[in-house]
Symmetry: C2
Subunit: 337 residues, 2 copies
């Protein structure tokens, strides 16, 4: 690796994260090349498939407009399971607490986890709590690991995109990242941007029931945003993607806040959004399904797979220009999840 110390950008989900994974982590822990990695591992047990995944949450602040680190930690792992096509069932919770954390804050976070688990229909079955001295962590970090099961035999993988596939997103992008930013001390965006944190497994189940094998790829565009996630899919599937800029759903407040801060909503994290790549003949049906679901009311077709090639992502702008999209470089918003 070109750096000899860990930088904030190594946690961005973008280029530096990929470099850390490729050069340091994957050779030691996985053996599975990054282009074959998905949001959850799919294992075989007793002739049936299981999905297994983990995520740690270090978001700052721990309470932000529209959510907190608790429901984020539940929904995030529920969604990683859902993106493999699994039905989420069981979670574990690992808490790392900083000495001095108000117990009332912990209770509020746990109440939020409880409500999110109930809403998503998952059971929290095991846990662990560690405490570190003041100044050795920041309030609370949460790890959730999850197990899901499959009610079908579809294989939904990042490598599944085919030429002609339509790219759908289930609603406005950039809300979570901008809500967290708005919640940070000292920043007052004078807006009512809310995090989109939400469980997506029911929307996924509806899509699978409705379009079946025409559903090729599912991925939730969290860290690194829609741009980075689509770039990953393009590389995994060996295809080129083209996004239509005017089709991208972006809320007015997010658009305005991004403009003020010089941020591109394509790179801002989402926590209740999914990208679905589908056979063109199923795209209209999938869009209808999304529109009928509470998590998909603002769904849109935002682009398509335009070629079988080297993993390029293009954005066709409102005035017809074609701009190449790369992964997030550096780290624009540390500790966004």
């Amino acid at each position: 690796m070109t750096n000899n110390i860990i930088l904030l950008g190594h946690g961005s989900g973008g280029k530096l994260s990929h470099q850390l994974l490729d050069d340091v982590i994957i050779p030691r822990l996985s053996g599975l090349p990054q282009r074959e990695q998905n949001d959850a591992a799919v294992l075989s047990h007793g002739g049936r498939r299981l999905a297994f995944t983990t995520d740690s949450y270090v978001v700052d602040p721990i309470f932000f407009p529209g959510g907190d680190i608790g429901d984020l930690a539940v929904n995030g792992t529920v969604n990683d399971l859902a993106m493999s096509g699994a039905r989420p069932l069981y979670l574990t919770v690992g808490l790392i607490l900083e000495e001095g954390l108000p117990v009332a804050d912990l209770e509020r976070v746990l109440d939020s986890m409880k409500a999110a688990a109930a809403a998503a229909g998952v059971a929290i079955v095991a846990g662990d709590t560690k405490v570190v001295p003041r100044g050795k962590a920041d309030k609370i970090f949460i790890n959730t690991a999850g197990i899901g099961v499959f009610d079908h035999d579809l294989e939904i993988l990042g490598s599944g995109a085919r030429v002609g596939d339509q790219i759908l997103v289930n609603g406005t992008i950039g809300d979570h990242g901008m809500a967290v930013l708005a919640g940070r001390e000292g920043l007052d965006l004078h807006s009512d941007i809310q995090s989109d944190t939400a469980p997506l497994h029911e929307l996924v189940a509806d899509l699978i029931a409705g379009v079946g094998r025409d559903l090729h790829v599912l991925r939730d565009p969290t860290r690194g945003g829609v741009a980075t996630t689509l770039k990953e899919i393009a590389l995994q599937s060996n295809v080129d993607l083209t996004l239509e800029e005017p089709a991208l759903p972006v809320g007015e407040a997010v658009r305005g806040a991004c403009a003020i801060l010089g941020l591109d909503p394509l790179y801002v994290a989402n926590e209740g959004k999914l990208l679905a790549l589908l056979a063109p003949e199923a795209a209209g049906r999938a869009l209808d399904i999304m529109h009928r679901h509470p998590q998909g009311r603002h769904a849109a077709i935002i682009g398509e797979v335009t070629g079988a090639s080297a993993g390029k992502v293009y954005l066709r702008t409102a005035i017809g220009g074609l701009r190449a999209i790369e992964m997030l470089a550096g780290e624009q918003l540390p500790r966004i999840c």
Copy 2:
């Protein structure tokens, strides 16, 4: 809860940890009373049982005599699965890195995880990496979650102890805690105490094969040590236990270091030890099995279940006195795992 902020003792594994679990965490996340909790959850999937568990590791220092945070994180979760009687199969790894961590240190930790996973025969199947700014974490925290399967139909639970059961430990106690302490900056114990971090699932498999249903309880005495773990078992099983002090295996160096520092090895953490409670007729056989195993060469019978009552633990001292043993109060060694 009587405290309104989180104290270091809430992570001790002892009394304050139990209070935090009882008053704050379990009512929100679990619903399963603490006396029914075990090191891993046992789930049913497709008619077969699965064990699922999680642990976060925040040990300080991250490198210590006999191990590091990497092999500790692998072995710890392997052991939590093994204590339920499961065969560990899959792990996830969640890394929280502090900005500025030398990449060489991360590589060393990951190399250690890789070696430990290979030695334990488990596959690391999913992971996540977060980075927080300098001063918001301490070098590296690791969460491991694990899945195990059952090759038998035994139910090995903390509530399984019966009057007459013999209590076995597979070797010397207190090594891990004292090794970590010896590794801390500024402390020079002039000793060669090594952490006992090791996977115990093969020893467990040998015990199950050798004594079957006569094996009633397995538990690894990590945070809080042998004393706290036995107190938990006594409470879960509604029995009284009596330990024989002269029978407790304690290494000379650990004994000496504990004496100097005013620590009781009964409360010092272990990371390669298990407590097994067995029917008396199987105890000799179990001891032979342990003695033949690399992780059990210094195994000993250290006490027995002496009554069906209110969850008391007694220590019979070398001169014949009987002392009541309670859970660890406060926190004697923060960040021991």
